[in-house]
């Protein structure tokens, strides 16, 4: 995917007045997601940082239709929107997107998402992953990486690795699946354009750095996001009708063979302040091993 040559429309759907924190990775990414999907999008969302982004009644800075739902039912709500629109003959008029955080996806939303994906519901599901329950104040989730401090792992950093949710979703055989990161907006735009044109269940994992939750200055969101990809902590890829491809920066890295050590990513963030050298080495080994597997799956 030759991302640098993508034309991005000027029309904005995220207007001034969002209530997210300064330096929010989600807000950066959401702007490009909506540019890609356009005005005929209905987003359904649970209580999460995205709710805050959508503002407080009776004002909203978001210029598309939105349906708020309960925490565990984002994918079910999307299935309802899809079924309702189809029953009324309006399914061609709208793109239904479900969007939830890692808590609403890896944890509480997994049942409804698994059900909707197994039923091959015709929708886009986006998990924006800021690696903890950020909206409620940085509590540990199953997406929190090993070694991270959170407000519910305050003294002993998280002892377990991040749940391998991408493998879980791949096992559902979505028609399209991709990863992206808020630091690479053109890659986001291109992947959501592609997702919009597909039918069936499309799953996109979006890595979004979170300054207050991860403990880095608000000016460093893009830098931290880039380092996540450059160190292989986040790998950009897509699986289109079952065909795996590295994309964007990850593809460049695969070609050049240049991957930075994870410590460059970790040292910028206070949440990893208590990681021991042994834990960092273990994490590096895990990232290297996963990277090798991706290289093997990727086209030469």
């Amino acid at each position: 995917m030759s991302a640098p040559f993508v034309e991005i429309p000027e029309k904005e759907f995220v207007l001034p007045g969002t209530r997210t924190c300064a330096g929010c990775g989600l807000t950066l990414a959401y702007r490009y997601i909506l540019k890609a999907l356009g005005p005929d999008t209905i987003v359904t969302l649970p209580a999460c940082c995205l709710t805050i982004l959508h503002g407080i009644y009776p004002k909203t800075p978001i210029a598309i239709n939105a349906v708020n739902n309960t925490f565990a039912s984002t994918a079910a709500s999307a299935a309802g929107l899809v079924a309702g629109l189809k029953a009324l003959g309006k399914d061609k008029d709208f793109t239904v997107m479900a969007m939830a955080g890692d808590g609403g996806t890896f944890d509480m939303g997994i049942q409804a998402l698994s059900g909707a994906a197994e039923r091959q519901t015709d929708f886009i599901y986006v998990c924006y992953d800021n690696e903890a329950y950020m909206n409620t104040g940085v509590q540990r989730s199953s997406a929190t990486p090993l070694g991270a401090l959170t407000t519910t792992t305050p003294f002993l950093p998280k002892q377990q690795p991040k749940k391998d949710f991408l493998t879980i979703m791949e096992a559902h055989s979505p028609s399209y699946m991709a990863t992206c990161c808020s630091a690479y907006p053109r890659d986001i735009y291109a992947k959501f354009r592609k997702a919009k044109e597909k039918k069936g269940t499309r799953f996109i994992h979006l890595a979004v750095p979170c300054p207050p939750g991860w403990g880095f200055p608000t000016s460093q969101t893009v830098r931290v996001g880039r380092l996540a990809v450059e160190t292989g902590m986040v790998v950009l890829f897509e699986i289109d009708e079952g065909e795996f491809k590295l994309t964007g920066k990850s593809l460049t890295m695969a070609r050049s063979g240049r991957k930075k050590p994870v410590v460059e990513y970790l040292k910028l963030q206070n949440r990893f302040a208590k990681m021991t050298d042994e834990q960092v080495e273990a994490l590096q080994r895990e990232v290297d091993s996963r990277w090798e597997k991706y290289l093997e799956r990727s086209e030469p």
Partner: protein
């Protein structure tokens, strides 16, 4: 002209949903209502009903699908019972708060723990305060009729509605039911009209965060706060009672069975003691009344059909005339008494005048415990020994004392 079929309560509910031309169905099986989604999926697969049938992975998702499909304008239906209903609890509040006219049939069943698959009304009565309208059916005909009426009322007042009927006792028992023609139902229940249009040209944020104070919109108009939206829900319920009566009357004019009254009454004109019941229990009470009347006792039955909105004035106006009210119920609000007894007392206190009748709260039939007319005769004979200050349990362990 008349089309009487010998069918179960579950069949009556499924046929009614089909006659209402529901557009989206999402349901998860649970005994004793599983036959309803089975039948509806058959209608859809055979092309007899044009609807989207979503075979969800849970009851929580069933209501999630129904309420979102309803938001975009579809007529939606689901069915559940017991723990399935309890699992939906959060979604019930959400559906009512979202003001979507979802209709759900519930085959009443006891809640675990410990497990029971048999009948009582603890499941739906526990959902009293979710903002749903609740109708309780006396027989299978009422199940069919109330599903049709529920849509018309729900779509007018924008509140979801539960049509409740006793698991197994009605869900699995065949009775003659007059099934109306599609033409008559279409005339009574036109297709749903959405009070707004979902369009990209005028995007909306549905059910967002609402603060505790009223705030201005971008044009400066003051908009409701959270409590303001709750006030609107309460007003919709208050308005619903009148709509239920009008729709019940109109139903009678079209189909020959009037539901204008939120209760049915039996032998109450000269009664001094009246059984107050809901659901199929009224049937046992009527048999007991026939038996006791032969022995010269002046007893009657008042069976409530509508529990939410509660017909406070209507019930008090009639119940205030009797000396003793025996509220027999298959539910208990632990730590107090049976829920209907509480409502009846409150209605009498608000709308009645002294001397008020004595109200007895009697727990019967939990978890499938059989209740037959002899039990109700027995309860009446024991009234002198029962104190109205606590609920009495019609149960072997209590009766020994």
């Amino acid at each position: 002209m008349s089309n009487v079929q010998i069918i179960t309560g579950n069949q009556a509910a499924a046929i009614a949903a089909k006659l209402c031309r529901v557009q989206v169905i999402a349901a998860y099986p649970i005994t004793p209502q599983s036959k309803i989604p089975e039948l509806l999926s058959e209608y859809v697969e055979k092309g007899e009903l044009k609807a989207e049938f979503i075979r969800v992975e849970s009851e929580h998702s069933a209501m999630g699908v129904c309420l979102s499909a309803s938001l975009v304008g579809a007529r939606t239906f689901t069915a559940t019972a017991a723990n399935g209903l309890a699992y939906m609890h959060e979604q019930l509040h959400w559906a009512a708060g979202a003001r979507v006219p979802v209709v759900m049939s519930v085959a009443n069943r006891g809640l675990g723990a410990p497990w029971t698959i048999l009948n009582d009304m603890q499941d739906t009565l526990s959902q009293r305060d979710t903002g749903w309208m609740q109708f309780y059916c006396f027989n299978n005909q009422e199940i069919l009729d109330y599903v049709i009426m529920a849509y018309r009322v729900a779509e007018e007042v924008l509140l979801p509605a539960m049509v409740c009927f006793d698991g197994f006792r009605l869900s699995h028992t065949v009775m003659p039911v007059e099934v109306p023609s599609q033409e008559l139902v279409d005339a009574f229940l036109p297709s749903r009209k959405l009070p707004y249009e979902l369009t990209p040209d005028n995007p909306v944020n549905i059910n967002p965060v609402v603060m505790g104070d009223r705030l201005p919109d971008p044009e400066g108009n003051i908009c409701p706060d959270y409590m303001g939206f709750r006030l609107r829900m309460q007003k919709a319920h208050e308005e619903a009672m009148g709509v239920i009566r009008e729709v019940g009357k109109a139903f009678g004019e079209v189909f020959g069975r009037s539901y204008e009254l939120p209760y049915h009454a039996y032998q109450i004109d000269d009664a001094d003691t009246v059984f107050v019941t809901m659901g199929s229990l009224s049937s046992e009470a009527m048999d007991a009344v026939d038996y006791m009347r032969k022995a010269g006792r002046k007893v009657g039955v008042l069976g409530l059909r509508v529990f939410r909105p509660f017909p406070s004035k209507e019930t008090a106006d009639i119940l205030a005339n009797f000396n003793k009210l025996v509220v027999v119920e298959k539910a208990i609000s632990y730590g107090y008494e049976t829920p209907l007894a509480t409502e009846v007392k409150a209605a009498l206190y608000t709308n009645g005048s002294n001397p008020l009748p004595e109200v007895y709260s009697v727990v019967v039939g939990l978890g499938g415990k059989d209740v037959n007319p002899q039990d109700l005769v027995g309860i009446t004979e024991k009234l002198e020994k029962i104190s109205p200050d606590r609920p009495s349990w019609w149960h072997e362990e209590e009766l020994k004392q």
